[in-house]
Amino acid sequence: MMMKKALMAATALVAALGISAAEAAWKPSKPVEFVVTSGPGGGTDQFARTVQAIITKHNLLDQPVVVVNKGGGSGAEGFVYGKTAAGEPHKVIFATNNEWLLPLVAKLAFKPDDLTPVAAMAVDEFLLWVPGDSPHQDAKSFIEAAKAAPGKMKIGGSQSKDTDHILVKQIEKAAGIKVTYVPFKSGGEAATQLAGGHVDANTNNPAENLGQWKAGGVRPLCVFAPDRMAKGEPVVDGKGWADIPTCKEAGVPLEHYQMPRTVFLPGDVPQEAVAFYVDLLKQVREKPEWQEYITRTSQSNRFFAGEDFQTFIRNNEDEGRAVIAAEGWLVN
């Protein structure tokens, strides 16, 4: 009897302490689930698993982290899952800008506001690539060839009405050309199709084409960014990422096209939880493994949270919406 009373008292004490701790700062009280809005092996999957690996290795969390893939319907599965988990801060959703672009082109029971933005941890660049044996040595010559034969040039990409497709539409508008866009299942497939010479160009991210570039199967013409990419190890023939001109330099006036690696929480979660994850992710990006991931995938190491991230989302959505509306892809 005494024992039981003592135990109850102790439990009450712990509970009281727990509550006061929660008021000060939120902390996960059970295993945290990382919801990946792509299939295993995709870019978002690698992003989430890298974060998971760093957290586990450096013991940044007292609770275990479990990664689940919900990539069905171009990621819609994961977003709807996140929406139904409203108020549950133990589920963290990993995505790209598809969180706000996908609901524009597909009728979903999900709106971008249904999730709480946490942070963007890196931005992935887009490049214009041609096959290794292509006659085009620079973007200018490629654009001229495309102008000479409207609709004949085939540009491959991953998925339809998605980032690659939107970029190709923007290139068409910026350069005054007309091309044929061929949607494949993934960036990896688009890379192989380009190396085999079955399409004339693709707009892959650096990591997607790196293997084929090393082997001479594909060649970058320009990068859709305001500045050249960060200097790294030379990739092939002494040339590296920093040697690739920007598309603006090369005559295609398109300089802001990037894909952020984003992290969200379900809706209606306490502000303290958001702050907790922002802090956690900040710790993650200070570890050497994060730098390794950024270098290996040739992404830009940028971090947006809070108001900055909100602004980024608004700008990115406006740009995307303009193209999507002009193409008649808007569903709502």
């Binding site: 295993p40 698993r49 949607p183 990896g188």
Partner: protein
Amino acid sequence: MENIASLMHGFGVALTMHHVLLMMLGVLLGILVGVLPGLGAPNGVTLLMPLTFSMDPISAIILLTSMYWGALFGGSTTSILFNIPGEPSSVATTFDGHPMAKQGRATEALTYAFLSAGFGALVGVVLITVLSSWVAKFALRFSSPEFFAVYFLAFASFIGLGGSSPFKTVISIMLGFAFTAVGMDTVSGSLRLTYGIDELIRGISFLVAVIGLFGIGELLLTMEEGLRFDGVKARVSPRKVFATLLTLPRYWLTLLRSAAIGCWMGITPGGPTAASFMSYGLAKRFARRRDGFGKGREEGVIAPETADHAAGSSAILPMLALGIPGSATAAVMMGGLMIWGLTPGPMLFIEQKDFVWGLIASMYLGNVVAVVLVLATVPLFAAILRVPFAIIGPVILVICVSGAYTVAGASFDLWLVLIFGVVGYVFKKLDYPIAPMVLAMVLGDKAEDAFRQSAIMSGGDLSIFWSNGLVATIMALGVLLLVWPLLSLIVQRLRPSRDVGATTA
């Protein structure tokens, strides 16, 4: 010859005590996840992945690939014993494997399955060893029209096999196409056939459908008709395994043909599931006696198993050399490669010789380890059939339902698996063939994507399917296989009629 030297070097890397132990561990884990339907190789590998982050890449990939081999073997076990395919690629094994088990020949069926699977895998690995550089270049020649031609060939080799009326086959195949169309469409980027139901966004999982159609469908039939497993009478002895082993060479032609089909589908990459269906179809078509297929013919087990594993192992090659995964599991492992800091691509073979050849050597060893281990389990598994149905029946139902839930962790799939169970039962009662529907669900959306991508490339001109030697050859083969039943029908009409045998599948 340079490859042989590299391979010997690879054996040096792979043949350490540490690596052999990892292989055994991987194979055992694999058998476990393979036996539980729904869990399967892709999920098993995903679950194991975080453990490998702290390993060096060679140990990690050896563990994961060994698990893959184990899962492929384990998947055949439940197909044969309970008519539940543990892996999508072992669906075709149920057609004859399960009838064999019902007739009390489970030991034989399992032994044939494992041995031919081991044979197929070895052929696949030898192919990788000898032709690695050539295969990588060859695979680059494949674009959407060629892919469509490959899928067309797979359909053509399977069509006209059903013993039931051609109209029933058409209905079954069309239903399959409809099911596979549900969800996000790659080419248009729009949702199809979801009717505003959120759970349908990810599409209808092929595995859930198969577990329902086969596992639960079979269970319902068994309940109605009473259990007729003759397994109780069958003697389970290790000697039987050896006796079966000695008869295997009799089926050399089936083995070789199926291995060739498997390698072809692994490289192109049509995938192991398509390979096993195609191989089963062709085994039946070219068999001297076509009767007995679907009722427990040895070739009906050997053909799909050989092709399945030949495709599974040769699919590793396009993954490494091109970064194109030939199967769902390969896709997961590719993600792992990148996390370990390796970029899949043509240069992997040059820059990471230790890794690539260590992996290839481990595929030889891993498969030998796997065959020995699974053969040892045959008497154990075969003995499960002696358990009374009143006990094993509910267990099967639990396995089916939990398997369906594991696929996507969605409770909606529990309803789906029950619905498909009823569909499977009704199909069997009304003598509609299930296999064409399953094949359409596996290959339907890939074939559709390839067809529409080709049409985009050519601006709608169908001549793209005859535009070069490669695609024209595959298409011609497909058309030939397609009209084959008509030709043989004409021949048969001219001769006195003969029973052709029905597919119960």
